[in-house]
Symmetry: C3
């Protein structure tokens, strides 16, 4: 059994979905593990992770838009407002999606459906540096 | 350490929750691994996975109904409409639930609460063949 | 490869988020595994798990409040009403958040961001005893 850890940093420039599939796959290719479980954790609570369609960019736009309407930036709704109007909605969107994804590696290939991509879902308006911890266990 | 991979196919006939607990347990029983982690990934982005109550079927009805109201089939809300009025709501419902579940196997028994079952949550109206990748790691 | 299993019980006294980070970390410290994957499953479908901000308690209040508005206790909306007005909303909130979290242990340290804590999200009004199954695999 082997284990490897790695951190990926993604620079975000406002709300939206950022595809990091290739960054993860590039790293996996350099490892000596052929089969194993990959755990990806985002070390923040105002951005999150989703597996989504990688074909039509309109899907990503609609997702961003839907979550914005579901958890609006309206200070009257929240007690936690000191970190900006987008902070509490960001925590809510994080709770509604995922902080972590566990994926499977088989024969050195990440098991994803044809139309699936890995996305960082940024919920804050300003620029951020987001860290995604990768942990692969297998052999 | 051992690893086994397996794919389960589920035929869906419209929106709703499909219990696949027994399919997963039947497969686990045939494996030589007694203790381990089981990762289940759905290889699609318009259907998802949830652990839910297995007692009252009304819970499943209400869940389907709630998500339908939360992400309505109303083309005016979405830019992504070319794949049908149910496609963008399906992606949203997928983001709101799970693409993947990680469960634990102890003494050859899948650790689930008394009232917990494993469900595929189909979000499309038409018939679909859904693939659930199973990956068990342990010994 | 080693595996250890453990159950943590949390007494809840109504809706809200209960921090169990220290309970998990205390247990991890006693184990001989230095690096591994930790899978935490809640064995119930009317309470759930989230990773959330551990700094401002207002975030926890706003989260509870948001989910209460999103899935209101209004019997007219649901068929499943026999277990109380808070039961069906609890199942919905459970589906919208997580039944399970997979985290990584590196050099005996649970990988969490500076502002991240582990929370049990109780969705029922009455007192409950909630069981969180912990499963650590590694070496």
């Amino acid at each position: 059994m082997e284990q490897v850890f790695h951190k990926i940093t993604i620079d975000t420039t406002g709300q939206g979905l950022y595809d990091f599939t290739n960054k993860t796959i590039s790293w996996l290719k350099k490892q000596s593990i052929n089969n194993g479980m990959l755990n990806i954790n985002i070390l923040h609570t105002s951005a999150s992770l989703v597996v989504q369609e990688n074909a039509d960019p309109d899907v990503l736009y609609d997702l961003k838009n839907f979550f914005d309407k579901l958890a609006p930036m309206n200070n009257k709704l929240y007690k936690h407002t000191t970190e900006g109007k987008d902070d509490m909605p960001a925590h809510i969107k994080s709770a509604l999606t995922n902080n972590q994804l566990t994926l499977s590696l088989k024969d050195k290939k990440l098991m994803l459906g044809t139309w699936q991509g890995l996305y960082l879902f940024e919920h804050r308006l300003e620029k951020h540096k987001r860290t995604l911890a990768h942990h692969l266990i297998g052999e």
